[in-house]
Symmetry: C2
Subunit: 594 residues, 2 copies
């Protein structure tokens, strides 16, 4: 039988299980005993803050404590001589890698979850999400994702509204396109800047805006020689930063570049295959060859999927080998690596169609196909399918448990069995990536396909609900994770909006309507387009510079916090100095007496 | 007779005069008495830190205290009913504007000055400047200027060395120019980023890196309704920030744009006049018309000078009308306004020659003339001429004082009379502006005139000495001013280096050698140039992003300071909470007793 062991298992009267540690089936008794003692020893050191913290915060603390159970003088895990330990090694990590612990996950709070669902997505009505409640249940990182999704959707509405008439009235005048593109570019800059302010507002309210990442304890995967952190004075593993830099610039960077090159190479092969298939079809023109026309696309799609997966593994391995001290630094480096590759895979073919083949019809068609199919597929694969599977499984478990009729508390037992088998939510990465690629489809070629924004808005309204369903019913409850902002994603979205200035200017410059205005000199046309592009880029940077990242009232509050803490330090040091002085005079007075 | 009144005039045995307040000749006795009392009253509140602070720091404190003497219940300055006061108005400012106080300036410390000069510039030898000593005598702002001047000169040496062979061997191959330009662009990015780190290093050592500008008291020119500062809790004038924003965006910005437009308009008139004079000369070709050829340039130079002065006044008026709370904000806004105008005046004609006339010979010639004449003129007008006048004046004063043979301490009297008549150093603005324009000459058209860097290096080596002479012997000692960095100048230099990417790429694209490589298609050429330019710009931004602004050891120290001060605040608050708890239990205990 599996043993479930709660970290808060202290036989209190109103016992609420928070976190489940699933052990392997054949774990030895001595190992269990040792692990329990280590966890309880740690617990005794801690405070008892039951009433003060939300359930999600308690679970976060338990996770943090478990991850920071580090080996002291143990040479191995008791009962498992092959699972070696050294001072400072994270116990949980070694237990997981040796297969002794299978997983650690927090339990859902069914009552709170039901309440949250009611205000969130079960009743279909146009209203804002209960972001603060989401934060209370799932933590800041996930609440920020839903906040961003909502904000982004509302921000896209003006673009969708302005884009619609272009489709309805088949406007093809270049001046209208120029207006649309200019609006888009300025709008996308403004919304990203305004988001920063809104985000600062939210995280200030939650108390996570001034998270001092430098003061954090290292992530469990971090290894190094045990030493003293020079900032906090705590004992922890240290790893020289220049070594990390060397690993990043001499290994990771070249590897990523190589992968990007390889991906481009594969794309070129795909286009060659397309041409070959088209040629074959035109020459023979049979039924059989018309089927052949689809083959290159299918092969390419499969190859891209395989490359994406392989690259993802490589990126995770490399980033964890870079040995970042903080979870946030690890995440940022991983995101950057994966992002660049995904960007190229998604958009390289569109760039090729736009700027090498210069086929705007094909571009519009590919864009529409990619956008719509990816949106539909995502929603089905991500939420609806798992939800259906989940429900089927739930019915099976219920029957089993009812057949058991054990003496133990069946509802808890049932809940653990049910949630244990649920999928694990791998973090907000894929959700953000989806939004990021969507932003790419909307902004990069917006003047070719103004309808994209409307599709994105439609998709996101349902995405909010399917993502909410996914979080509440499909996946295990994730550990809550505090965060101050959407981190590297802000940078990614901003970079995308800079690139989209370049692409849109180029597309407008290439359009036949604009070319008709400059019938004689193509050079003049290009020079004007380049000049406009530079002016727009300059405007973007000036706008980003002129809009403060934090609203004024928050700036003031942060400054006050800083002022007060520096004043407190000053007083503390003055008091210390005064005490020293007193001590000295006391000693010297005694000396005089003798 | 003039009355000199030292703010530290407290009849101590070892009296060192620090600051001179020059009053008008006919000031009434009651005003003098009142002013003396106000100053002494303020002084009694302060600490006595004589031994702890440097002389420059004492003078800075006196200036700060004088500037923050603010009216309480006085309705006017005693004896001058027309000099109105209202609560919170800076007394010194009103005294200066009513002509009662003529000036306030700190005195030189002749002994320390002599020592400083000996290590600084009197002995001609290739060595680093004694930056720490300069900081001790003149304060951080001026020391940072000299530090930047030195750093910038050394940083230009590689560019000068690489540029020389282009001149010596008359290299005209475009590939060599491309290499030179690319090196320049990357180099200029790197040196600006590295300066930030060096600057952080210096100011950390001086203790000014973490100047909390928000905690500062407002600048004397700042006016508003008396209220409580929400950060520090001190009573001071308040002015709503949205009003300032409105003034900036609705008045200052349009005004600056108008001035820029006007300046461009004047330049176009100049070029028209040039063409007209050239035509006249070619048609008649007499001696008289060949003199006429110089007339447009002379008129243009004079007009530019006048415009510069007028604009400077307008900018100062507007910026002080914008009512910035902090001196640094005032300076930054003023610098930005003047900078943009100066940039246009200096470089617009060069841009016109380069990109409209496309005359590279003329460009090289104008560039050389502008660079060399401005450098020579600057050094003469700025330092040597005033120094010569100053010495002549000094001899005259000495004779007068010797003829006087009064009973008072003649050396002090002589010093005050001498220094009173010295020019006032108007801040580092003009010195930085000179360097900024020099950087423009060197980098904007570097591939047309690679020799510019060599001239700049030569100039700067003498500039260090003439600026030092100017600071020590020509001007009144300036008040020391703490600063954390070179402020908005960093941004200005960075912007210049971004613009220079664009100009250099354009120049290379226009060169006949490059055009010869693409004989058929000019379009391809332009597209390639634009692509290279975008790549270089992207590289610049990535470089700026990848090089941290502060060296690691300083990041760690700052983080530790923050950690310790937050910990101190935590402890303070916990102690407070504990005391409250004790108090409450005491009260409730008493209540039970009764």
């Amino acid at each position: 039988m599996k043993v479930t062991l709660s970290a808060l298992d202290t036989y209190e009267s109103s016992f609420t299980p928070l976190v489940v540690i699933e052990l392997a089936q054949d774990v030895k008794e001595e190992t269990k005993e040792w692990l329990k003692n280590r966890i309880i020893a740690k617990k005794k050191d801690g405070d008892n803050n039951d009433d003060f913290l939300t359930m999600a915060e308690c679970q976060f603390i338990i996770k943090h404590e478990l991850e920071n159970l580090r080996a002291k003088d143990e040479k191995m895990i008791p009962g498992y001589p092959q699972a070696k330990l050294y001072p400072g090694k994270s116990l949980l990590r070694r237990l997981l890698t040796s297969g002794i612990v299978i997983q650690v996950f927090p339990l859902h709070d069914n009552e709170a979850l039901k309440k949250l669902e009611d205000t969130w997505y079960t009743r279909l009505a146009l209203k804002y999400q209960p972001i603060d409640n989401i934060r209370g249940y799932f933590g800041e990182t996930i609440a920020l994702y839903f906040g961003f999704l909502e904000y982004f959707t509302f921000a896209l509405i003006p673009m969708a509204v302005i884009g619609l008439p272009y489709y309805l009235f088949v406007w093809e005048d270049y001046d209208k396109y120029v207006i649309f593109a200019s609006f888009n570019l300025i709008w996308s800059t403004v919304i990203l800047e305004v988001w920063k302010r809104g985000c600062a507002n939210m995280t200030y309210r939650w108390g996570t805006l001034v998270m001092k990442r430098q003061f954090e304890e290292p992530r469990p995967g971090f290894h190094g020689v045990l030493g003293v952190n020079s900032i906090t004075g705590r004992e922890e593993p240290l790893y020289p930063s220049y070594k990390r830099q060397l690993r990043i610039y001499l290994v990771s960077l070249p590897f990523v570049c190589l992968c990007l090159y390889f991906s481009l190479y594969v794309m070129m092969i795909y286009f060659d295959m397309e041409i070959w298939a088209l040629g074959l079809h035109e020459n023979s023109g049979s039924e059989w060859t018309s089927v052949l026309l689809y083959v290159p696309s299918i092969i390419y799609a499969i190859v891209i999927e395989i490359m994406n997966r392989l690259y993802r593994y490589a990126a995770e391995f490399l980033t964890s080998w870079e040995n970042h001290r903080l979870e946030s630094a690890y995440q940022n480096h991983l995101i950057l690596k994966v992002l660049v590759f995904n960007f190229l895979n998604c958009f390289a073919s569109l760039f090729y169609i736009a700027f090498v083949l210069k086929d705007m019809k094909l571009l519009r068609q590919s864009l529409a196909t990619l956008l719509i199919t990816s949106q539909i597929l995502n929603q089905i694969v991500e939420s609806l399918l798992p939800y259906w599977l989940q429900r089927k499984h739930g019915v099976r478990v219920k029957r089993k448990v009812q057949a058991l009729k054990a003496d133990i508390d069946t509802t808890l037992y049932e809940q653990v069995i049910l949630e244990k088998e649920m999928g694990t939510y791998m973090g907000t990465f894929d959700d953000y990536l989806e939004l990021f690629l969507q932003f790419g489809y909307v902004s990069l070629f917006s003047c070719v396909y103004p309808l994209a924004a409307a599709f994105a808005v439609l998709n996101n309204f349902t995405e909010v609900n399917s993502d909410a369903l996914k979080m509440c019913r499909v996946f295990k409850r994730p550990f809550s994770e505090p965060s101050a902002s959407i981190g590297v994603w802000q940078l990614a979205f901003e970079t995308m909006s800079v690139i989209s200035v370049v692409t849109n200017c180029a597309l407008i410059g290439m359009s036949p309507q604009v070319n008709a205005v400059f019938p004689e000199s193509k050079t003049d046309l290009i020079l004007i387009v380049v000049a406009v592009e530079h002016a727009l880029l300059a405007l973007k940077f000036i706008l980003a510079f002129a809009i403060p990242d934090k609203p004024r009232h928050i700036q003031v509050k942060l400054a006050r916090l800083e002022f007060e803490s520096l004043e407190a330090l000053k007083q503390q040091q003055m008091k210390l100095a005064a005490e020293n002085l007193k001590e000295e005079s006391r000693v010297s007075g005694k000396e005089k007496e003798t």
